[in-house]
């Protein structure tokens, strides 16, 4: 049913999704902190822009990405010349696409969670001698962790399922950029039902596992 070649999409999907989620997590929490604490002009507009990838059709997103990082895009040539980084048709491009769609999920949930933290608690920490980084890591972040984690798990699932933008920017190259979603698409297109069935079963098993783990993690204590 499944041979060695079929595990490649799973390995690739996990690699891409984990990396993309990590990027979305760090970026999302950092920006959420700024947005939750600092009032600056245009904050709401910028928040809306950062949330756009969540509502934009993936193909539109894919197109914008091509315009920016394609061989003849705004940043593409510069990235290649300066860093030797190519994003089109590479798994790194897939990471970029997945990270962008995952980001708003982390950002929004982290911002809400951070805003929920009582400022009095942070003030108390300061009177007890904590530096600002200590206040963030010892008080603010732990209290915002649950909400942020919930958003992050959603982000991971979204990254795993990314298809449209990934197809456009990373292509559908077996073994190199063919994630699980693309592999299923391929199998259906080629009429290979056996492979499609097996892959879908695999993806479903992974998704169910994620859901079970996440509900355990987020279960109310006691």
């Amino acid at each position: 049913m499944l041979d060695a070649a079929d595990w490649a999409p799973l390995a690739l999907t996990l690699k891409v999704s984990l990396l993309a989620t990590l990027i979305a997590l760090v970026g999302g929490v950092a920006l959420a902190f700024v947005f939750a604490r600092v009032r600056f002009p245009g904050r709401d507009t910028l928040d809306a822009i950062l949330t756009l990838p969540m509502v934009m059709p993936p193909t539109v997103l894919g197109y914008y990405l091509i315009v920016v990082v394609g061989r003849k895009g705004w940043l593409g040539p510069w990235l290649d010349d300066t860093f030797g980084i190519q994003l089109m048709f590479t798994w790194q491009g897939a990471v970029l696409a997945a990270a962008i769609v995952a980001f708003p999920l982390v950002f929004k949930s982290a911002r809400a969670a951070l805003e929920d933290v009582e400022p009095t608690l942070e003030r108390a920490a300061r009177t007890l001698g904590s530096t600002e980084p200590a206040v963030f890591f010892r008080v603010t972040l732990p209290l915002a962790a649950r909400g942020t984690l919930a958003g992050t798990l959603l982000a991971f699932a979204r990254a795993m399922g990314e298809f449209g933008a990934t197809l456009m920017i990373a292509g559908n190259l077996p073994g190199r950029t063919q994630t699980l979603s693309l592999a299923v698409y391929d199998a259906v297109q080629a009429g290979d039902e056996a492979r499609a069935d097996a892959l879908v079963l695999l993806i479903s098993a992974v998704c169910v596992t994620i859901l079970v783990v996440s509900s355990r993690l987020l279960a109310p204590r006691r």
Binding site: R71, G171, N172, Q189, A190, G191
Partner: protein
């Protein structure tokens, strides 16, 4: 009295018009996009009131749709292999299959590219980082290209550089945008995008590239046969020729 009769009359006339006008769904290989659109217009002029809806994609993908029961009336593929599969799966109206056009395989490069390709072996050079072809699993274009590369002994060297496209038009698009150094397309596709790509190499194929067309089983529309005949008629063939297609023999 007129006030009450008018809407009724309107509805009745619409029904009457609908009863006579037919709609045809034609699934055709991506490389036929421009030629068939024009052929469709000519056909609609001849059959007033009837409408043709086209569905262009990779031949393999189109077959997959038909196999799943898509309500297609006519199927035109870019290779015999896909049509053979359709026939073996009993998706064709027996006796309706005909060949209607020929094509050739070429390698194109971006218009402003300085690459000189004197043979398929040149694709193995380091200057060529990426080569676009249609996905061999679903596109005739990809299969022809793979066969040609294998015959020239270059498949192993070129395969790691391949960027698989959904269909031949996407392969063309990649070259036109400069995302790849070179790409396999049909001669007719190259002619479509003259301002963005140029033909660098003509690729001889073991088998001649001949396009078949057939009525899909279960389509009980006499119009479907009429369309197949029209494509093979002098008018249809003239359009195809204008777009660079060769005659089927």
């Amino acid at each position: 009295m007129t006030k009450r009769r008018l809407p009724l009359l309107l509805a009745a006339s619409l029904f009457a018009a609908g009863a006579q006008a037919e709609e045809l769904i034609v699934s055709a290989a991506a490389s036929l996009t421009n030629a068939f659109k024009e052929i469709g217009q000519g056909f609609e002029r001849k059959h007033a009131g009837d409408r043709i809806t086209f569905n262009f994609a990779a031949s393999g993908a189109l077959l997959a749709q038909i196999e799943k029961g898509a309500p297609v009336d006519v199927f035109a593929s870019a290779d015999q292999e896909t049509m053979d599969k359709a026939e073996a799966g009993r998706h064709l109206e027996p006796g309706s299959r005909r060949d209607f056009a020929g094509n050739s395989l070429v390698v194109v490069v971006p218009r402003d590219s300085t690459l000189k390709l004197d043979g398929l072996a040149a694709l193995a050079d380091p200057e060529v980082e990426r080569v676009a072809i249609g996905n061999p699993a679903t596109t005739p274009n990809g299969r022809y290209a793979r066969a040609a590369l294998a015959a020239a002994g270059q498949w192993g060297a070129v395969e790691p550089k391949l960027v698989l496209a959904e269909n031949v038009r996407q392969s063309l698009n990649y070259v036109g945008r400069g995302e790849v150094e070179a790409g396999f397309v049909f001669a007719t596709d190259a002619a479509q995008d003259k301002d963005k790509v140029r033909i660098a190499l003509e690729v001889p194929t073991e088998q001649a590239i001949v396009y078949p067309i057939a009525v899909v089983a279960g389509s009980r529309k006499p119009l479907a046969r009429a369309f197949v005949d029209y494509v093979r008629s002098a008018e249809g063939q003239a359009v195809l020729k204008r777009y660079g297609f060769k005659s089927p023999n």
